[in-house]
């Protein structure tokens, strides 16, 4: 398998005296895969995702994404890596309340130095595709949870990242909106977007991912459907 994401013996400790949050995990994810990382609360699945995203550093082991050792990158290097490779969506959306929907979506492109016209065109395209174009000048506080998560997805995709990481993307949504967001993620994966979703929802994992990694006590307890494609 030609891996897009590769973890080798990755351990993460927040406290030297406590048990590791992630304990010697090794795994690979290929381009175009849709992977669900599952496990109970506190199992280490979000920590695993954060290390893949470069948001957190492993205490030991290596994290390689698209051939780049991101565990060794500086803060600036991580930021540049993010712009090129990663789009991330969060359970609680993490939108900036004082920026409009459009400004939220534009921001990663602006930070990456994309010309304003080009960035605006891409943002408009995404907002239309996600059916929230009419809210482009609204503030996040006025939107429903599902609308906010769609804004977060648009923001995550604005720089055309190599992989989309999602941490409990439907966790804060009602079932209808959860279905909607799940469907969107599925569509994105079908169009070739690599997808890693952390969830504790077995239904979401079963319906929208073709590989499920189960994490327990910081270790991989099971890895089903490796290399599968929908």
């Amino acid at each position: 398998m030609d891996a897009l994401i590769r973890l080798d013996e990755v351990t993460k400790r927040y406290d030297n005296d406590a048990a590791p949050a992630v304990d010697g995990v090794s795994m690979q994810i290929a381009p175009g895969e849709a992977v669900a990382v599952m496990g109970p609360s506190g199992s280490g699945k979000s920590t695993l995702l954060n290390m893949i995203a470069g948001l957190d550093r492993p205490t030991s082991g290596t994290v390689t994404v698209a051939g780049e050792r991101i565990d060794r990158l500086s803060e600036t290097g991580v930021a540049r890596f993010w712009r090129r490779r990663v789009g991330m969506i969060f359970q609680f959306f993490n939108l900036l309340d004082d920026l409009t929907v459009l400004d939220n979506v534009l921001l990663p492109a602006q930070l990456a130095g994309v010309p304003r016209g080009k960035a605006q065109a891409r943002a408009d395209e995404l907002l239309a595709a996600l059916r929230i174009g009419k809210y482009r000048q609204a503030y996040p506080a006025r939107l429903s949870g599902g609308q906010r998560q769609r804004v977060a997805i648009a923001r995550a995709l604005v720089n055309r990242p190599a992989m989309l990481l999602a941490d409990e993307p439907t966790g804060a949504l009602d079932s209808a909106n959860g279905e909607l967001i799940g469907g969107l993620l599925l569509d994105l994966n079908r169009s070739g977007q690599t997808l890693v979703v952390v969830t504790h929802n077995p239904d979401l994992a079963a319906r929208y991912a073709h590989r499920t990694i189960e994490v327990a006590d910081g270790r991989i307890a099971a890895d089903a459907g490796v290399g599968a494609r929908r």
């Binding site: 920590t47 930021a79 930070l111 506080a141």
Partner: protein, 790 residues
């Protein structure tokens, strides 16, 4: 139970202190700086008068010294003035006479040289009901031919020295038998009462001095009223001159008085800044701690305990800062008070203990009140609401600013940073004010330092007239003296040497003669220059340097005492000749309290007195080293004195003190900014995580965080520059008035346009300096940690 509750509050205070180390340090440092400035200011204000007042009370000083023409009032009439309404105590009449003393000349001279005129009073003993003299050395005069000198008039004379009484019949000799102090400076020396008549020059009227204490003497008006009552009790014209103790006090305290206004200005700035910053710190701590407050209340903290917990978090570092500030203020006061102590001759002078106690108590109370208001707000918070609301700014605030600034062609982190202050308008206003005050202090200090440098240069004239060559005998050779070689030979020798020096630009010679001027009781030194002396470096306050015979220039003190103005004509009496002269200029000079005159050689020659050159003033070509030039003049040989004019070291101390105070205030302002940015960073830590999670680099993060306050800093600078310039324009003349002088306009116009632009950036510099540290903390924060933060 009460102990348990107290322990809970103490634990909450300790917890708050350890959670908010930066704010704790900021409060401590702010209080340190502002308390230090206040202790220094109040200490100087008190000490500018306290030593005089203590000595005045101990010596039962006279509120007024009145000199009368003894020929116009009988002894009974004079004695009756002791019973005039308002007079509580009186002494005298003591016979008074003015002599021109001849004192031994410098080594190598056979004659005696004339010392400045000396006013003698005849007193049988140093004691009495009023103006009790303090005998410093020797004993009191007991017989004719003995004199006790005032310590302010020693001129190198020691016990046993002999002086001749110039002007008195037979030029009698007086032997110095003692040295005494009069708090009123009522005379330059004292002899036995019977000696006075023998010392009076033929044809001069007999005068006597009376010393009075009044029931009301707190103000100049009250003293004037007392004097008027005494004068009214005497025949018309009997009173020839008067002197108020307030004049003496002002003169004695003039060394420190000019410093007080600017130190007070700095102290006020520091005080306001510390209050603002404390309010900002506490309000910020309350806002940042909303959730914590909610949790404290949900576990049983009463509103009172919450108030105590938050007030305690402030008072602990505030008390430490205040105590440190007392120490700092005392240390800063050492060089200034050292000079004052020298002026008063009181040995050492320290910041009074009550100042060391009152200032920190007052500052602590101020801080306590500042902390109490937001703490009360914390105490009133609803627990559920506090936990739910957290520390988010009110929704909607600053959105329009984001939208508007987002359209600017600037990097997005910059526009996001610039819009941030609009989310917290109250905090921004307080921060803006703190930076305005800090930047205004910088502007004020820059101008003050420049002005004081010019003042120092103007007083010393070190730039225009760096070298002075004194002739043997100092130009005051009495007719009995016989200088070796002759005065003409001395001048030829000096001028030959000066002309031979390539560094000589120009020179002139001066001499000084004592003269009488209507309206001034004592004699006034008149300095005459030969040839063109317009280059000599006296700065003009108004009018111009004399251009023709019959014109004089005088300092402000002269105009104040005589009530004259530039353009007026006065009559000076030199020797026995009256010379009408026109005042054409007011010069900047504080020597002899401004009681002096400058004119041309021809003007003074009209007196008929033999004018003997005393000193050559030498201007040097640009690039000439005054020290090397002075060494080259050693060929003149012994007897000639060569001195280099330098700025008074005190001004260096003063400018250093200004620098220290402004540094303190700039640090306080910078700490205020740091505190604001820390609060903002805490509030927006989650947003910072989002920014980083969507690709914001550390450099972009620093730029954004610095821009949170950079715009505020720039605005503050623009406001602060005119404020600082206005403060300079106000305080400097106040300082000058305290020193008894006016100021040349050039000493006030010290700001160059380019300098003002740079000073306008002072606010940005303070803001950036204060923001850089928390900005780097924000840039280093791990994204996952920030995203997890609530």
């Amino acid at each position: 139970m009460r102990g348990a509750r107290g322990g809970a509050v103490a634990r909450a205070v300790r917890g708050g202190l350890s959670r908010r180390r930066v704010q704790t340090i900021v409060i401590g440092l702010v209080l340190l700086a502002s308390t230090g400035a206040c202790v220094l200011a109040l200490g100087l204000v008190v000490d500018s008068n306290a030593p005089f007042d203590s000595a005045f009370a101990a010596q039962n000083g006279a509120h007024a010294v009145v000199t009368v023409d003894a020929g116009k009032a009988t002894r009974a009439e004079l004695a009756a003035t002791a019973h005039v309404a308002g007079v509580t105590q009186a002494a005298g009449p003591f016979g008074e006479v003015t002599i021109t003393p001849g004192v031994p000349g410098p080594p190598g001279y056979t004659g005696r040289v004339a010392a400045p005129p000396m006013t003698l009073a005849g007193r049988a003993s140093p004691g009495g009901p009023v103006d009790r003299l303090i005998l410093q050395q020797g004993r009191w005069a007991q017989r004719p031919g003995e004199i006790v000198l005032s310590s302010s008039y020693q001129h190198g004379l020691s016990l046993g020295a002999q002086i001749t009484a110039g002007g008195a019949p037979g030029t009698p000799r007086l032997t110095v038998v003692g040295v005494a102090d009069s708090i009123d400076q009522s005379a330059d020396g004292w002899v036995t009462p019977g000696q006075i008549a023998a010392l009076r020059a033929p044809g001069t009227p007999a005068t006597a001095q009376l010393l009075y204490r009044f029931a009301d003497a707190g103000t100049a008006a009250a003293v004037r009223a007392g004097i008027a009552a005494v004068s009214a009790a005497l025949p018309a014209g009997a009173v020839t001159s008067t002197q108020s103790y307030l004049q003496v006090r002002a003169q004695v305290s003039s060394g420190i008085a000019p410093i007080v206004p600017f130190v007070v200005a700095f102290a006020c700035l520091g005080l306001v800044m510390s209050v603002l910053i404390v309010i900002n710190v506490i309000t910020g701590a309350v806002v940042a701690g909303y959730r914590r407050i909610g949790i404290l209340k949900s576990i049983g903290f009463t509103p009172g305990q919450v108030v105590a917990a938050y007030t305690g978090q402030v008072l602990a570092p505030a008390v430490a800062g205040c105590l440190g500030g007392v120490l700092l203020g005392n240390v800063l006061a050492v060089p200034v008070l050292g000079r004052t102590a020298t002026v008063y001759g009181v040995g050492t002078l320290r910041v009074p203990v009550w100042v060391d106690v009152a200032v920190p108590v007052a500052m602590g109370a101020l801080v306590g009140i500042s902390a109490l208001l937001p703490s009360l707000r914390a105490g009133r918070l609803n627990a559920v609401q506090a936990i739910a609301t957290g520390r988010a700014p009110r929704t909607g605030r600053g959105y329009a600013a984001h939208r508007a600034l987002g359209k600017l062609p600037l990097p997005r982190p910059v526009t996001i940073g610039l819009a941030a202050p609009f989310a917290r308008p109250g905090r921004t206003a307080v921060t803006l004010t703190a930076i305005v005050l800090g930047a205004a202090a910088v502007t004020f200090a820059a101008g003050l330092s420049a002005s004081l440098t010019r003042v120092a240069g103007g007083l010393s004239r070190a730039q225009a007239d760096p070298i002075q060559v004194g002739l043997p005998g100092g130009g005051a050779i009495t007719r009995a003296g016989k200088p070796q070689p002759s005065a003409a030979a001395q001048q030829r020798a000096v001028e030959a040497v000066l002309r031979a020096q390539p560094g000589t630009l120009h020179y002139t010679v001066e001499t000084t003669v004592q003269a009488r001027v209507t309206g001034i009781p004592q004699q006034v030194p008149v300095t005459a220059f030969r040839g063109n002396a317009a280059w000599i470096g006296y700065a003009m306050i108004s009018g111009h340097w004399y251009r023709a015979p019959g014109q004089v220039d005088v300092p402000t003190g002269f105009l104040t005492v005589t009530g004259k103005a530039v353009g007026d004509t006065i009559t000076l009496t030199a020797g026995h000749t009256q010379i009408p002269v026109r005042i054409v200029g007011e010069v900047f000079d504080t020597s002899n309290r401004g009681l002096e005159m400058f004119t041309s050689w021809q003007t003074l020659a009209r007196s008929g007195l033999p004018l003997i050159p005393a000193t050559y003033d030498v201007g040097l070509r640009p690039g000439t080293d005054p020290a090397a030039y002075a060494r080259a003049l050693s060929t003149l040989g012994p007897g000639y004195s060569v001195s280099i004019n330098t700025n008074e070291a005190f001004f260096v101390t003063l400018i250093g003190l200004i620098g220290m105070l402004v540094l303190l205030l700039a640090i306080v302002a910078g700490l205020g900014v740091l505190n604001t940015v820390v609060l903002h960073t805490r509030e927006r830590v989650h947003d910072l995580g989002i920014f980083k999670a969507i690709g914001m680099t550390p450099r972009q993060t620093i730029a954004m965080v610095v821009c949170w306050v950079a715009g505020t800093g720039l605005l503050a600078g623009v406001i602060a520059v005119p404020a600082g310039v206005a403060l300079h324009r106000y305080v400097l003349p106040v300082m000058a008035r305290a020193a008894g002088t006016g100021l040349p306009a050039s000493y006030l116009t010290v700001y160059h346009p380019a300098e003002l632009v740079l000073l306008a950036l002072a606010g940005t510099v303070i803001a950036t300096a204060g923001a850089l540290l928390p900005a780097s903390w924000a840039a280093r924060a791990r994204t996952a940690t920030a995203l997890r933060a609530e």
